[in-house]
Structures are given as C-alpha cells and as structure tokens.
C-alpha cells in the first residue's frame, strides 16, 4: 500500500482529479455519459493515442524527442495494408509484424543518428519524418496500393471479445504493463532515467548509453507503427497523413502526466492520465459541437493552465 502511495505524486493526482472534473462536466452535458459504456468508449479512443504516447514517453525520459511519429504511424498503417495486398493470405498473417518491423527500422535509424552522429534528436527525427513521408508518397503514387485492412487488424481495433472490453484497450494495457515492468524492474529502465538525468555520468558509470538511446528510439517507432496498424484497422484503410493529428497530443499527454520534457523524471501512470485527459477533453469539445477554432484555443489554454499549476521549473538564481 505504501509503495503505491509513494508512486502517486502531485501531477498524477492533479491529472486524475481533472479527469474526474471533466467527466462530471460531460455528465452534466448529457446524462447518458454517466455509464461504464461511455468510459469504455473513451478508453477505446484513447488507446491509439496511449500506445503512441507510451513510446514517446520513453524518448522524452531520455531528454530527447521524436518528431518522426506522424509518418511512422502512417508507415505502419500503409505497410500493413500493403503486405496484405502483396502476399495474399500469407501477407494477412504477417501484416502486423511486417509493419512493426518497418517501424523498427525507422526507429533504429533515428537511434543511430542521435547516438552515433550526435545530431540533436529534434532535427534528426524531423529529417527521418520527411524521408518516411517521401517514401509513402512514392508508395501510394507509384502504383495503386492495396488499402484494405485484414481481419486481424479490424478485430484488434474495433471488436470487443473479453466481456465488453475493447481489444485495443487490452493491447494498450499489455504495452503499458511491459513498459512499467521495463522502467521499474529492469536495468534498462534505470539506465533510461539515468541517461535522462546526466548522460555523461551514465556513460562514465560503464553503461552503453548508445544502446539505451537506440533501444528507446526503436521502441518508440515500433509502437508508433503498431498504433498505425490499429488505426488502419479502425478506419478500415490506411491513408496519407493519418498520423499527423497524433504528434502534438502525444507529447502533450506525456508532459501533462508530469514527465519532465528535459528527461530523467516521469511516471507511466501520469502518461496514462494525460492520454485519458486529452481524449476526454477532445470528446467533450466535440460533443458540445464547438467549432474547430474554439476547440484549438481551449485545448491550448488547458495545457498551459495545467502546466502552470505544477510544471514550473525553479527560478534562476545562479
């Protein structure tokens, strides 16, 4: 019990408090939201963002950032549907692993650029994002791509097989459990926090910091590709720029959850809270039929407002 209490810190409390308030607001708008069904529905929508944010969190914990997420998500979706088209029945089986492998390759390229070439991640992943975009434009434009999803992808993204729990939520729970285990119970997890705090000290302690960097970038891109596959399953096809609306919410969710954008500090539960918070906020704004313009403004104001409450850094004095 004490261990659990120690795990919960101020940002996590505030985020979950805010989620509760938002939910009450939603119930005030429409009483039918006071149900488990609505919450499960929201969690299903949140799962896609949650999987992406899990990967983004690993990279942010290192003090880096991955801006290649949007097009790696698209790569995931497009490669999965393409594999199904290229290789027929066999393709349908390997669509998911193949797409994740493609994501992994982009992640390793990101990691190599950051770890070996020492190029700031913000700019290197930006370049990789542009290359991924170019490849996908070529892929769809050169010949007519197969853009239908496989049974498995549809089943994972839309169906509910265990009681009433959406399958995609179970995927997210699984990803989350693996990441929590990795961060808290394995040496790699300790190294990730250590690199985020001070990379030179970690290096001097004999840790292969390059390996840690590459692993995290690879995981981030693999998860982004997985989310892409699921998104393609959800909307029954993969399309250009399908990942674009996920980059900023993913980073915002991680930071709202109390992870330090400079790295070294952060808890997975906070990221979960951030993801649910953002999904709920988006849902309520769309239920209110608010115009896109106001939605954007409110979205920005809420992020800044929440961070002002608990995300402030120390005053510069020396």
């Amino acid at each position: 019990m004490q261990r659990i209490l120690k795990y919960i810190d101020l940002p996590i409390l505030i985020v979950f408090g805010f989620i509760f308030i938002l939910w009450l607001a939603a119930v005030a708008l429409d009483a039918s939201f006071f149900s488990v069904g609505y919450l499960l529905q929201q969690l299903q929508t949140a799962s896609f963002l949650g999987i992406i944010a899990s990967g983004a969190m690993l990279v942010i914990l290192l003090g880096h950032i991955d801006l290649s997420i949007p097009w790696v998500v698209t790569v995931g979706g497009m490669m999965a549907t393409a594999a199904a088209g290229w290789w027929g029945d066999a393709g349908a089986v390997i669509a998911l692993p193949f797409a994740m492998l493609c994501g992994l390759i982009f992640g390793i390229v990101n990691g190599l650029g950051v770890a070996y070439l020492r190029i700031p991640s913000m700019i290197f992943t930006l370049g990789v994002n542009a290359v991924a975009q170019g490849l996908m434009v070529l892929h769809t434009g050169g010949f007519a791509p197969q853009d239908h999803t496989t049974e498995l992808m549809h089943w994972l993204a839309v169906k509910r097989s265990l009681w009433d729990i959406p399958n995609v939520l179970i995927v997210w729970l699984f990803v989350g459990a693996v990441i929590v285990f990795m961060l808290r119970r394995t040496p790699l997890g300790r190294y990730i926090y250590a690199v985020g705090n001070r990379e030179s000290a970690t290096y001097l302690s004999g840790v292969s910091t390059r390996g840690v960097l590459i692993t995290c970038f690879a995981l981030c891109s693999t998860l982004a590709a997985l989310a892409g596959v699921l998104l393609a399953g959800y909307s029954t096809k993969a399309y250009q720029a399908m990942g674009d609306p996920y980059l900023l919410p993913a980073i915002a969710a991680v930071v709202l959850g109390g992870t330090n954008i400079l790295g070294g500090r952060g808890k997975y539960l906070g990221t979960v809270g951030g993801v649910i918070l953002i999904t709920l906020l988006q849902s309520i704004l769309s239920v209110m039929q608010m115009e896109e313009a106001y939605r954007q403004v409110i979205y920005g104001v809420v992020i800044i407002g929440m961070l002002l409450v608990y995300g402030r850094s120390a005053k510069v004095q020396s």
Binding site: G127, A132, Q133, L138, G141, D244, L308, R312
Partner: protein
C-alpha cells in the same frame, strides 16, 4: 594571417550554410564551373546508358530578374520564419508556434489591408502588432510561467491556429491590389522587392538588435543563464524581447504571404511545414540548438539553401512524385553534415554537452 585564422575558427559554423547556399544557387542557375561540370556529367551518363530519350537531363534556369522573382518569395518566406525561429533558439529555447503565428498574421492581413493609403498603413501596423503580441505572449508564459518553451509554444501554437481558423474558417479575403503588386514586383525592373524587404529587415531590425544591450543579453542568457543572471544581465527582458521580435518576423512573413496569395488561409499543414523547416534552416545556418551561438543571417542562408535544393528537382527534371522523398533526403543529409564534429572530438565526454 593569425587574425584571419581566428576569425575563421570563430565563424566556421556559418561556412556550411553559406557554402551549401552557394552550391544550391550554382546548380540551380548552372553557374560556371558547376553548371558545365554537371552538363558534362549528364552527357557522360547518357552515353553510358543509351536510350531513345536521354535519361538524364540537366537544364539550369537562366539568371534573370524574372526567374529570380519566381524563386524568391518561397525562399524569403522561409528565411523570415527561420529568422523568427533563431531568436528563441539563441536564448536556449525553441518556438513551435512560428508557423502558427505566420498563418494567423496571414489571416489577419487578409482582413485588414484594404482601403485608403492611411487604412493600408494602419492595417500593416495591426498585422505587425498582432504578430509581436503573439510572440510576446509566448515570452510572458515562458519567463513568468517558468515552463519549458517547447511545450508552451506547442500549446500557444494551437491557440494561434484556432484564432486563424476563427478569422478565416474557409480560405478567402483579399488585400489591396496596388500594394501587393508593388510588393511582389521588381524594384527598378531588376531586383525582386521581397529581397529588398529582407535586406531591410536585416539592416534595420536584426543588426541594431544584435548590437543592443538586450540583444547581447539574449546570447548571454542562451549560453549560461545562471552566469548571465549573476552578471546583472536582464534575462527576463532579453527573453521577452527575443520572443516578441520572433513574433514580429513571423508577422512580416505573414504579410509577404498575403501579398503573394492575395488571400488568407488558416492551413495547419502550412503552419507545420514552416515550423519544422525553420528549425532545419536554423541548424543548417550554424545556430546552435543549445543556445548562445548563431545569427539570424546564418538562418537566411540555411533557408535559401533548403528551398533552392528542393527546386533542383525541376532543374534535373525528375518526376514530381519524387519531390517529397528528395526533400526529405536533402533535409536529412544537410542535418547529418552537422555530425562532422563527432570526428573532431578528442575526448568522448565532450560529446555529451
């Protein structure tokens, strides 16, 4: 000789951007000796791989005022946004809202700039004021909210895009015809007006700022905030000025965009494109993402080279479908040039700074 060496050592970060820019122009316009060399190379390749139609073509554009005037606006727009990005980066921050401010001022300009000359002047001032205000707001939240610039500007970027959408839910609007044809034309039939405007911005805004106490404060804040504070540098004012000026540069870019498109469009992809490419231009232009070193003039070279190299596609007559990939590979390669320092480092610990 010794002073020359010292000068070169102090400024070697800028050589990459300037060199890349010169190379980009040389290929684009087929300037000697690069143009002749490439022509010969293409002839050689065609001789090696014979086909009915020549596989490899190279047709550089003539260096005339009109060609320059069609190529200049895109480059100048990115250059202005890159200059805007330079200032926060110098203070060891980052501004992810430059594209959004650019789009927002474009939308505002498409509403307010019409009527009598006095109205026009007021309209231009309103646009510049709104841009500066948006930048200042970023600065206020960063300085007094003590939040990380990257996440603050991520959020304010959403706000500014929202405002842009509120002003122009669908593309439209207009701008005074005479003013826009003057701004998009050629000065004395020779020099594109936008290039003159850029020079004007550098001479009358950037250089005075760079030489002012507050401008130096930005560099000091970026290189060591604590030390700057202890030395009595006004770090709060420096940062506020950097973000506000950044907003002003974006507003100038928004104005130029309005003069060219004659309308306002709240386009999120356009905002994203300019924000991300401005970071690339800043880095290619020699400014350190870790703050404290760099110059907006370097960013201009970075922006020009990025924009011109992408247009190589037309010079080599590659299919347009390849453009995004070509764009991406150029961007990635240009960024990788910055990895040269890895091979110069003597002590591996220096890599971690």
């Amino acid at each position: 000789m010794r002073s020359l060496k010292l000068w070169a050592a102090a400024n070697n970060a800028y050589f990459l951007g300037v060199g890349l820019c010169l190379l980009a122009f040389a290929v684009y316009f087929g300037l000697p000796p690069i143009g002749a060399l490439l022509s010969a190379m293409m002839d050689g390749l065609n001789a090696l791989f014979p086909a009915d139609l020549p596989l490899f073509t190279y047709s550089p554009l003539p260096f005339t005022p009109n060609v320059l005037n069609t190529a200049a606006p895109k480059a100048v727009l990115l250059a202005l946004v890159a200059m805007a990005q330079t200032l926060p980066v110098l203070t060891r921050g980052l501004d992810l809202s430059v594209g959004a401010i650019f789009v927002m001022t474009n939308c505002i300009a498409s509403v307010v700039i019409s009527g009598t000359p006095v109205d026009l002047a007021i309209g231009v001032l309103i646009v510049l004021f709104c841009g500066t205000l948006a930048g200042l707001l970023n600065g206020l939240v960063v300085v007094f909210g003590r939040l990380q610039p990257i996440i603050v500007t991520l959020a304010t970027g959403a706000i500014y895009l929202g405002i842009a959408l509120g002003i122009r839910p669908i593309p439209g609007g207009g701008v005074d015809k005479e003013l826009s044809s003057f701004m998009t034309g050629l000065l004395w039939g020779q020099v594109p007006m936008v290039l003159v405007l850029l020079l004007f911005v550098v001479l009358f805004i950037w250089i005075p700022f760079r030489r002012s106490v507050i401008g130096r404060g930005c560099y000091a804040t970026g290189s060591a905030e604590g030390a700057a504070f202890l030395s009595g540098v006004e770090i709060a004012n420096s940062k506020l000025a950097a973000y506000a000026l950044s907003g002003l540069f974006c507003a100038i870019a928004g104005l130029v965009q309005t003069f060219y498109t004659q309308s306002g469009e709240a386009s999120p992809p356009s905002a994203g494109f300019y924000t991300l490419n401005s970071i690339a231009a800043v880095v290619i232009g020699g400014t350190s993402l870790f703050g404290g070193f760099g110059s907006a003039i370097g960013s201009i070279f970075g922006a020009f080279s990025l924009r011109t190299i992408v247009d190589w596609l037309f010079v080599f007559e590659l299919p347009p479908l390849w453009q995004p990939l070509f764009n991406g590979i150029i961007l990635l390669l240009a960024v990788c040039l910055g990895a040269a320092r890895v091979f110069r480092v003597r002590n591996r610990l220096e890599l971690f700074t």
